[in-house]
Symmetry: C2
Subunit: 207 residues, 2 copies
């Protein structure tokens, strides 16, 4: 697998995957880079460049085979296998994430929610149990969990990361407002406020 | 204001803003690009390049004045004024957004939530009222609203966008799983699943 793909390309791959998925749902079997570019609002040359990072996938004068390209990008993104996941923090954001049926379709299976609030422990979201945070270490011993989504307050993040470390967790999907310094796990920080600030910048520019 | 700043730079500005805010909280008054780069895990030359887009802000051998740089980036991002906002969809995600006190600190003031569910209408989140979606047109006539966050199902997005168009809304912060085709408003699409797919890619690469 190519190792030197730029972050910008990687960031665009999920978008290709989404658009190709929609084309499949519409029954489209092949598409030219021109038509795909119009649909995605990027240039055809950008699409060709991006996909050339992985060997191309297109044929001159024929375009892209939608289903094949979808499957190949899925392989590159690691979506051909299951990713068992837990959510730590069963407040509104944690419950919103547990409710996204789409994540499950992509292979991200939420198998447990954890919280400190006794009022939440014992409840369930779409049959996913909300467990006490005190049960987390044992849960990690008895279940294979690849990803932990952190949706609890920033102040608790460090102690949770300690519990996760060395217990088989491969990655943290972090919504707590802190850039975690973790070296032995993959960390993806989601800062919703960054997106809002970008929006504000674009409003200013549009004036 | 510079108009040709690359998207990648704009995407990094909120991150500078966050880090500078943290430095201010810690009482740090100035910082070298070297120390800032260590803290942010980017290269010092990247920081200098990024900030040169806006005229630099640094002094050779002195570093950056933290408070000044924070204020200047805030101006660039349009954070020196208030951005009244509504949230359409008062489910878990909508309520999570309404609960983020941080957005308010940045000037994004949520003044109303809207939903179709009679069980939610009439309730409130942090004193922000949940109103019926049928009240939206009148609300837009009588309140100045700059940003609408869409957290309701994809199927309803188009009809909501129609209601928002021509009613003073400047921007849509879109969490519905559809890239909206809107020409007369700024649209920022947030695809949480894209972030999860990037995470999956990085897990695969780390093996």
């Amino acid at each position: 697998m190519a190792k030197d793909i730029s972050k910008a390309v990687i960031r665009r791959l999920p978008r290709y995957y989404r658009y190709l998925g929609e084309l499949m749902e519409e029954g489209v079997e092949r598409i030219s880079s021109h038509d795909l570019s119009e649909r995605m609002h990027v240039t055809a040359s950008q699409i060709r460049q991006d996909l050339n990072n992985f060997g191309g996938f297109g044929q001159q004068g024929y375009g892209y085979n939608v289903n094949f390209l979808y499957e190949e990008i899925g392989k590159i993104l690691g979506l051909t296998r299951r990713h068992p996941m837990i959510v730590i923090g069963a407040g509104h954001l944690g419950q919103a994430i547990a409710n996204y049926v789409k994540f499950e379709k992509l292979g991200f299976l939420i198998i447990g929610l954890f919280d400190v609030d006794p009022a939440l422990v014992g409840t369930a979201v779409r049959d996913i149990p909300v467990l006490s945070i005190s049960e987390l270490p044992e849960f990690l011993q008895t279940h294979e969990v690849e990803i932990a989504a952190l949706t609890m307050p920033k102040a608790e993040a460090d102690s949770i990361v300690n519990t996760l470390t060395g217990n088989g967790i491969r990655a943290i999907w972090n919504f707590a407002h802190v850039d975690l310094a973790v070296t032995d796990m993959v960390v993806e920080n989601v800062h919703l406020s960054d997106s809002l600030m970008e929006l504000s910048y674009r409003i200013l520019q549009s004036e």
